[in-house]
Assembly symmetry: C2
Homo-oligomer: 524 residues x 2
């Protein structure tokens, strides 16, 4: 039996053009659960339902939306064991600590933070100009299509992840596209979401879900007038197509796509703590089989005997670390192909490079190196993303060349600089920072990029092609919420017709509002 | 002699493919001043210079940027007489009150507000998470190409208008494209900007200007890696081309394009004050010869004897009001063509419709009407923009049909609702608001849209095609500044390397920062 899709609060047999099976990457075998490829008719019904839900949600008080998010989080926690068991089977990500102790608590934490943000309302930046009686606030953008990635079955999932939490907290219904790498996980979660939505009394269709569709129908959906916005985490290839379809009709689309996360090791840091850095780098690069958007895929160092020894040490550590199981055959094929492209461009293979033989879906931990001058001769190809435990060391012949290499980078989510604690890199940090800062969303010191704290100050974003717009972050609450808000201004509108957040009386007594240029929690 | 362009703080002979003359629309004659059409080489040099200036500006304290904006504003005020004389000659906009008493003070007011915003730094939303030691702030996006419109030679000008002020205040150099409708005005202003920049000691190339280029070179410029962003006010035709070029490379582009600004008169309002409303509407529609982005180009009413009489009264007032002089021959031709399209779709001409004979560039004040059902049969063509003193009344047969008409509108900058002061429209305001709110950036009650206050709560923005992104406003300070900022995060960065706004000590003692979830002007 092919599983139904979730439309208008009902599990409904899909109008399907075909089906696909869930897959176990640890065994390389298909699982028995079968899921539909929806035709346009399914998506069309979801859009109709979501448009109605969007209008209804405008009348729902924030407290009820917050209650839904919290109840949903509670249910996820209560079902952690079964959800993480299935998620582990579908993704080969370890049940523990990764899923049950890491990703699931992160996910429910995000939902609860989003609930608190919805309740407070401060995320919407209510702004009041008493002299002119003009008031503005970020209002809900409309139904949000949430397309999650393969690598986080929970924390970035379209049905319970960061985009979901942000879209709901800002008062928008969600149409989730489950990722084909973890459909059963998504289905179990959607059941909990539906129950929580019903029990809280949210409008029908606040949460809907399908599994897969023809890519052209996906593009059509993104451009549909009934849709408000799209949140996407995934490949650059798919992301730019969605972006083009949405851009053509001026629809907000928030993409987190491709990033190789440059790491700079300055000579002073290598001199002080080479061994610790090699271990730290290897741990970060191989964590989760390297399947993080912030995995360090490019390292920039300056040539020296100490650097040569450091690189050799890293290569040894990469070889001796176990090769993790990858999420899908597609990830495995892309990774081998990406490594091949970097080798073809002239990089030297220092470790790994090949698929691991046998049924398990895996690739050897891979390290490559190239000289700074070779990199500069072909910077585009050397920035080919290798999604997995693979990284390219660029060995510059000088600080100047290191800065040149950085200047030739595309946009990235993160950039890390390791530098001397004792001042030896004092003359280098300035030019390196000046070059790196405009290339990345998050600049780190002495820290690997793989940890992405759910912080109000986080930026999980950056210049294209890391994302589609460098103004926004997809992680961090309330920082990620304004993506799903549009600026709504009220000019001379009579007070009873104003949204609660813009009336003279502060609706909660705690909401931060910008009144005549100053932030205040008071009344007008 | 063809005038030079402003590159790297020097008035430089253009590498020109041709030239054009300034034009006086009141006489229909060319003026003697001749301006170059720049080849790519000019733009290329400007981009190089701006990229360097952008790096230099990061080191310049906000105080100096504020001082520049204020000195520039002072110089504009001191030269108001000569600037407004020339601007009036080039645009036929009245020297007074429009230019000298309205637009020029608005322009210098914007520059001074931007100076205050730069000095305060609160616009950049510094956000500090002390527990995780993660900090973020909006940093400068990079060089901004400012392309101003024909209809505001000062307040929206690329060389001194709202986008200019916002781009400079956020720490970015500006490459201005002067509008061909007022090149001499722009040149005079650029001279003042250059002098102020030099006297303040800003980096060379902080302010540059050219006049015209091949449209393909414009698209190339928008996509150039050296450019940070583009701010554009103008036609939908040009805007969507720029948008496509910028979107393809993930470059922020902020467009204010096309809007017909629906006005709803509910029956109770017409019953109470028909004559006053007719006068108010006619004044708004004919103001500035209707050449405002917020000119009321579409009116929606419900049929009744009172409505018929109201429409007839408006038609009479439109006929008896003087036809203003338009900015250019192009505006005249587009307006006549737009009216023709609406007539061809089936609208009835109630007043005007033709070009005014003689050398002066003008079109009769024009009023049209169409039934709600005819509108609904062809909503796209009936939303053809008629840029000038022209408006289409849509006469619905019921409240339901009025709501249907609103539901078929494209995105607009504004939407106005006039309704009974005595409660007669109490049952209508809900459904009308629910339909109109998601279609517009600014919702007004009992007010024409043509006034656009420079308020922190203003939204001069809205859904596509009014703009390219419904999250942002191009008017309002500091509200318009974040367009030219990108989210920059600092994770574990050592304090001496943090920007001043993110250090523990509040750099001014007054900057608003979001510290651990609360807005504060204190230190960490």
């Amino acid at each position: 039996m092919t599983h139904p899709v979730l439309i208008a609060d009902q599990w409904t047999p899909a109008d399907a053009s075909g089906s696909f099976n869930a897959f176990n990457p640890a065994t390389g075998q298909e699982l028995t659960e079968k899921y539909p490829v929806s035709k346009w008719a399914d998506l069309d019904r979801m859009l109709d339902t979501a448009a109605t839900a969007s209008r209804e949600l405008r009348k729902v008080e924030a407290e009820k939306i917050a209650a839904f998010l919290e109840l949903f989080a509670d249910r996820l926690d209560a079902n952690a064991e079964s959800i993480c068991t299935v998620a582990s089977e579908e993704t080969a990500l370890p049940f523990t600590p990764r899923l049950k102790d890491g990703e699931l608590p992160r996910t429910t934490g995000q939902l609860r933070q989003a609930a608190a943000a919805a309740r407070s309302g401060s995320w919407s930046m209510p702004t009041i100009d008493t002299k002119n009686n003009i008031r503005s606030v970020l209002g809900p953008v409309g139904p949000v299509l949430c397309i999650g990635p393969n690598n986080f079955p929970l924390a970035f999932s379209g049905i319970c992840g960061g985009d979901f939490a942000a879209a709901i907290a800002t008062g928008n219904p969600v149409i989730a596209k489950a990722h084909s790498a973890h459909p059963t996980t998504s289905r179990m979660i959607a059941e909990l979401a539906l129950a929580a939505s019903r029990e809280t009394g949210l409008p029908s269709g606040t949460v809907q879900m399908f599994y897969r569709c023809d890519p052209n129908d996906g593009l059509r959906m993104v451009a549909d007038p009934r849709l408000g916005a799209c949140g996407f985490t995934g490949s650059r290839h798919a992301g730019v197509k969605l972006k083009e379809a949405a851009d053509r009709v001026g629809k907000p689309v928030y993409l987190e796509m491709s990033s190789i996360n440059p790491v700079v090791f300055l000579p002073g840091a290598i001199a002080e703590r080479a061994e610790a850095l090699a271990a730290e780098f290897t741990g970060s690069c191989t964590m989760g089989a390297g399947q993080f958007c912030t995995s360090p895929g490019l390292v920039i160092v300056i040539d020296s005997p100490a650097t040569k020894s450091f690189v050799a040490d890293v290569a040894g550590k990469m070889k001796s670390a176990a090769a993790g199981t990858l999420l899908t055959r597609g990830v495995q094929e892309s990774l081998v192909e990406g490594i091949g492209q970097v080798v073809a461009a002239g990089a030297q293979l220092l470790a790994g490079g090949k698929a691991v033989p046998g049924p398990r879906v895996a690739v050897e931990n891979t390290l490559l190196s190239v000289s700074g001058s070779a990199f500069l001769a072909n910077p585009v190809q050397f920035q080919t993303e290798m999604f997995g435990a693979a990284s390219l060391f660029v060995i510059a012949d000088s600080l100047d060349q290191m800065v040149q290499v950085i200047a030739h980078l595309e946009g990235n989510l993160t950039g890390s600089i390791y530098w001397s604690q004792q001042g030896a890199d004092g003359a280098s940090i300035g030019p390196v920072t000046a070059a790196l800062r405009p290339k990345v969303g998050r600049l780190l010191h002495d820290k690997m990029p793989t940890g992405v704290a759910v912080s109000p100050a986080m930026n999980h974003g950056g210049p294209f092609p890391a994302t589609g717009h460098p103004h926004f972050t997809s992680v961090g609450i309330p920082a990620s919420l304004p993506r799903f808000g549009v600026l709504e201004c009220y000019d001379n509108v009579r007070e009873p017709q104003l949204p609660a957040s813009l009336k003279n009386k502060n609706p909660t007594g705690k909401m931060w509002r910008l009144v005549d240029g100053d932030w205040t929690q008071g009344d007008v």
